[in-house]
Symmetry: C2
Subunit: 199 residues, 2 copies
Amino acid sequence: MAPRTDLSAVRKNQILDAAMVVFARSGFHEARMDDIVQESGLSKGTLYWYFKSKEEIITAISQRLFATDIESVESLLKAEGTVSERLQQLIRDRVQGLQEMSGVVAILFEFYAAALHQDGVRQFIKTYFQNFHELLVALIQQGIERGEFRPVDALAAATALDAVFEGLIVRWLIDPDAVQWASLGEAAIRLMLDGLKHR
Amino acid sequence: MAPRTDLSAVRKNQILDAAMVVFARSGFHEARMDDIVQESGLSKGTLYWYFKSKEEIITAISQRLFATDIESVESLLKAEGTVSERLQQLIRDRVQGLQEMSGVVAILFEFYAAALHQDGVRQFIKTYFQNFHELLVALIQQGIERGEFRPVDALAAATALDAVFEGLIVRWLIDPDAVQWASLGEAAIRLMLDGLKHR
DNA sequence: CTTACTAGACCGACTGGTCGGTCTAGTAAG
DNA sequence: CTTACTAGACCGACCAGTCGGTCTAGTAAG
């Protein structure tokens, strides 16, 4: 049935990795399929063997990018430590994730822009945001119940928190020097937490 | 000398208005020059009479969009009232500005995306961000000096504040229902202010 | 007032380059 | 010998930008 060892998983990743690099560099539209071909080290025939269109590559990337890791999220809700410790940890993890893919984060904006006129993409991102948001609400709620936070509106507080985070990404991408995650970013978030805590 | 009344200012605005509508609907790349031609009610020849390329239209729009109104900004620094009142007012003004151009805000993302591979656009946006940021720093500094705020790191606090704002825009564009500016948005910002105030 | 002329605003059919995508002819593993 | 996969030349739709031309309003000479 399979005369040759199945490379499809490897190849697909190879193509998607290359595509991310190219898209991050040039944006979805400026990026040429031939650029992806070259970056991947494969040939056009191979590329179209695995993905039937540019569109399909973009969708595949968005899935890869916005697939929420539900497990790690759930575990955070049950973990030990104060809520604000865990919130800070959550943020630190996310920041680290960002930094690891820093060469390629630019695609985020491509997707945000795409989301505004392509319902499919929008849906992915929306769900992603909502998942993160729900986690934050749950955490803050926990903080309030434990008496760690003031009895604020958990929804509003969560909105504020993920807004700070999302906003920092925007600023960071536009002006990397303005946002030193290690200092400014964390300070910003600590400030928010201070607003939550009992006084 | 001038055989016909000079309509160039009118025409340019007419074209830019049309372009913003089209760009907001379809994005920079999906948008066809012919769409702008149609939306503007002019002809292709006329369009190219006033702007020599698509690129030039995009640049013109970014100037129009990110031109900071320095005066209103400065006046806020000298206005009366507590700092947090003025901060909230500032935010309210900006939100209102956004809502007024709500049909067309989508272009923001187009510009953010474009900024990442076009230094010109990036520069515009960067300057815009920096102006706003500096204003916030000054205001917060004022709050600290007057004893209204705790002696926090004004830079970090300002970063946090404009991040919330920028982040809310992102969330709002992706999922308009999730951000009810009037309630959630303001609450989020009030929360930040609480973090600043003396306890 | 008429007529001849000018400037420059405006028009839209046309073109040439640019990619997304296809196709045919392979190659090598099993 | 079959089948999974690779290669890259090639095709043609599409669209930014061009170009030859028209039309209008003003000017001024007679």
